[in-house]
Symmetry: C2
Subunit: 120 residues, 2 copies
DNA sequence: ATTAGATTTAGAATTGTTCCAAATTCTTTA
DNA sequence: TAAAGAATTTGGAACAATTCTAAATCTAAT
């Protein structure tokens, strides 16, 4: 664990959930001005490969990183872009039944209008 | 419907499902050598916006395009990268129950080892 | 203290996609 | 059916996110 790696993990754990690489880089830079973007990517890879954090792939835009490694899915607001954790039950079972074999993992991102953005 | 647009739609309908922009470009180029990549992207956007085809966002790599616009999800083999359509039931209901509101849409990509790649 | 291996850094390179402006081609409608 | 306006095509530049590279530096175990 180098100082950089420790800092990046701290940033992810202390700052808000669901930050992307750029945001993590900025937050880390505030404490360690010389840190390089490549170091952030290197460590995000290391940390997610080793289950310290979870990388969430997003098809249209930057991936984000989640300090919560307990399996859960994400609901993304179409208006504000805010991301909320969700825990719908029975998904994995439905998928395994459907494909007839074990699922190694799955990505499920739901789009909706969050309560704050709803107008009625 | 310009000749280019017709060709691109034909390529998607006649060639294999789940092609990415590059593959569609190559197939179109074979019949119309002067066609531009930008035209392919323009038309993929037009065709998916108008429900002729469906765009499938992939977080790590090129998006692909599906001629099947009936809602369904995708199972991606971790070994060969092959993509299969799946139709697990009850997902939308589980999601709406979980977030407590309507889902505008959702992306669900399952990773697994396909029958062809399985060794036991 | 030495040395092999891991990590950091800055910047270049890559990939997939979008943007741009000019040229061309469709589509009205007079 | 010709002129005007709208949409589309083209090639290339621009872009964003990420990965790669190679040299410098650090770390850990002898």
């Amino acid at each position: 664990m180098t100082a950089q790696r420790k800092l990046i993990l701290k940033v992810i754990n202390d700052t808000c959930e669901h930050m992307n690489a750029e945001q993590i880089y900025m937050a880390a830079k505030a404490e360690m001005p010389g840190i390089a973007m490549a170091t952030v990517y290197n460590n995000l890879k290391y940390l997610s490969d080793n289950d310290y954090i979870r990388k969430i792939g997003v098809s249209d835009g930057a991936d984000f990183y989640d300090r919560n490694i307990i399996p859960h899915d994400h609901a993304i607001c179409d208006k504000c872009g805010g991301i909320a954790d969700i825990n719908p039950g029975g998904i994995r079972e439905a998928l395994e039944k459907s494909i007839g074999s074990k699922v190694t993992h799955y990505d499920l991102n739901v789009h909706y209008i969050c309560p704050g953005c709803r107008t009625w």
